[in-house]
């Protein structure tokens, strides 16, 4: 009985168990040798046949124009190296926390008013009157802490596994910028509820910036947007929190993920590749597929000759 996960892999990429391994008979079972009965033609009529083809045709229509299927299959079925473990889920977990923040943030923005006179009461309205308001507000508030923790864990994993080294230096730099932007989000979002806590914490934060050398006073003037924290500060923080930084984060996450797919994720530093044994048909097939047709950079689709060592279905895969 094959595992569900194994069934989801397309046939050319599937690792064929070697004869003699558990669950695989050494000789083909007799029923496998019989040819399957020809499919009974179904009587759907012309309209029915057209309807069945419609989804495939619309996908093909889109792909003719976008030519994205090669990249998508390459991305989806690219191989992750041997030894990949749960530490490697921290990056996607951070991304997921960001998505939670984005979705809950959109709903909060529907009810929030960034003015000094109404901010507090609009949050009170969200908390007390809006359906599931406090729940969504709570998810956004605690989601921020979860995202900060996850991004630090993800960075720790990258650091201790030496994953920032060649050829992934640029992706580390993008990641550090994403960390700074995440902290900016945490700082600017904190003022928005406009209660005592957020108000005074923001004053402390702005004053801390102001004590910095050279650019410090300019930075705090920019953040404060006036002689004291007030209406213009709130709308400025709101714009930074809602438009500027999320846009930058989304763009940089795109670049970060592009590099992840392009360069591949690292293997744990302790994992060693055994030297390949030559002339084993199954590994040759694996090697051919992984190295060429399904590689995301799309090079060399005809560079490797596909060797089908199974004597089975005889499909070419490149």
């Amino acid at each position: 009985m094959p595992k569900l996960a194994d069934l989801l892999v397309p046939a050319p990429l599937r690792k064929t168990p070697k004869p003699g391994e558990a669950g695989v008979p050494k000789t083909p079972a007799p029923q496998d040798l019989k040819t399957s009965p020809p499919e009974r033609p179904t009587d759907l009529g012309r309209f029915g046949e057209k309807a069945l083809e419609a989804p495939m045709e619309s996908v093909a229509w889109i792909d003719q124009r976008m030519a994205a299927s090669g990249f998508l299959t390459g991305m989806l079925f690219r191989k992750v190296p041997k030894g990949t473990n749960w530490f490697y889920t921290l990056g996607s977990a951070t991304l997921f926390a960001f998505i939670v923040q984005a979705v809950t943030g959109v709903f909060l923005a529907m009810f929030y008013t960034p003015s000094t006179t109404q901010a507090y009461s609009s949050i009170a309205h969200i908390n007390n009157d809006v359906f599931l308001g406090q729940f969504v507000h709570g998810m956004h508030k605690w989601g921020a802490s979860v995202m900060v923790i996850l991004i630090f864990l993800h960075m720790g994993r990258t650091f201790f596994f030496g994953a920032y080294k060649y050829p992934r230096e640029l992706n580390w730099v993008i990641g550090v910028v994403l960390l700074i932007l995440t902290m900016t989000m945490a700082f600017t979002g904190y003022l928005l509820p406009f209660d005592q806590r957020s108000y005074w914490a923001s004053i402390v934060g702005i004053n801390i910036n102001g004590t910095g050398p050279i650019v410090g006073p300019y930075l705090s003037d920019f953040l404060r947007a006036g002689p004291e924290v007030g209406a213009t500060t709130l709308s400025r923080f709101y714009a930074i929190h809602m438009l500027l930084v999320p846009g930058a984060i989304i763009a940089l996450i795109g670049a970060h993920l592009y590099l992840v797919v392009k360069l591949g994720t690292t293997a744990p530093p302790w994992t060693k590749a055994d030297k390949p044994r030559i002339a084993e048909p199954t590994t040759l097939l694996d090697a051919g597929v992984a190295g060429n047709g399904y590689h995301p950079n799309g090079t060399g689709t005809i560079a490797g000759v596909q060797i089908d060592g199974h004597g089975g279905d005889g499909t070419a895969t490149a």
Binding site: T89, G138, F161, Y166, A186, I203, I208
Partner: protein, 233 residues
């Protein structure tokens, strides 16, 4: 890394990849489980901890002790520990900026081919020390700035009064030993030697000049407060 080492890494990586499994569904399965855990934790925190509002922001208040969110405690603590004014810019912007630049440029000065943490003693030690330092500063920031504690020796019978001082925001305007801001209010470190207990109590209740009145405090707390302050000689 020398070009030969780069080449060796890429070859080794290619082999590891051949031995690996497709991203979908194997890695996707793990990522999905992790995503479910993340959203589960966020939902649980939202339900258990809620998102209660504090009192409305009031720029005129003088009794509120400002505290940042927990993930900025380490910065807050660096600022609190480094007191001399000429060093403050270094503490607030200097140290974080230097750390950020060091972090950003990490792959450009750590160029060795070795990736195993136990064979990179310098990097691993630096990393662990950074984590310990940030953990300690976060903890210290969480505890030290706590509005219900004052960092000084207090006799047990005056403990309650010192907590009222801390919790009522007196330190926003008064200096008390190593705690609190020096001004606009007078220093309280030796207040008991200068002013008798009754006068202290009256000042707290009336709120002379710009000081707010603390008449709303319970009688018992006012007495504890006066006991503590008049004990400061």
């Amino acid at each position: 890394m020398k070009p030969s080492e780069k080449q060796a890494y890429l070859e080794e990586y290619e082999l590891l990849k051949k031995k690996g499994k497709p991203f979908f569904p194997y890695a996707v399965m793990k990522d999905s489980v992790m995503a479910l855990i993340v959203v589960g934790v966020i939902i649980a925190m939202s339900i258990l901890l809620g998102a209660e509002q504090g009192p409305k922001a009031d720029p005129t208040t003088t009794t509120y002790v400002p505290r940042p969110e927990w993930y900025f405690f380490f910065l807050f603590e660096v600022l609190r520990v480094i007191k001399p004014p000429e060093l403050v810019p270094l503490a607030t912007i200097g140290i974080p900026t230097i750390c950020m630049v060091l972090l950003l440029l990490l792959p450009f000065y750590d160029r060795g081919p070795e990736r195993r943490p136990e064979r990179r003693p310098l990097a691993t030690t630096a990393g662990i020390l950074t984590i310990l330092a940030m953990g300690y500063l976060t903890y210290a920031g969480a505890v030290a700035g706590s509005p219900t504690e004052i960092d000084m020796k207090v006799a047990p019978q005056y403990k309650a009064g010192s907590e009222v001082v801390a919790g009522s925001g007196c330190l926003a305007c008064h200096k008390l030993g190593e705690n609190g801001n020096n001004g606009p209010g007078p220093e309280l470190t030796h207040i008991g030697a200068r002013i008798p207990r009754a006068a202290i109590l009256r000042s707290i209740e009336i709120g002379p000049s710009i000081m707010p009145s603390f008449r709303e405090l319970p009688k018992e707390k006012l007495n504890e407060l006066a006991d503590f302050l008049s004990s400061l000689h």
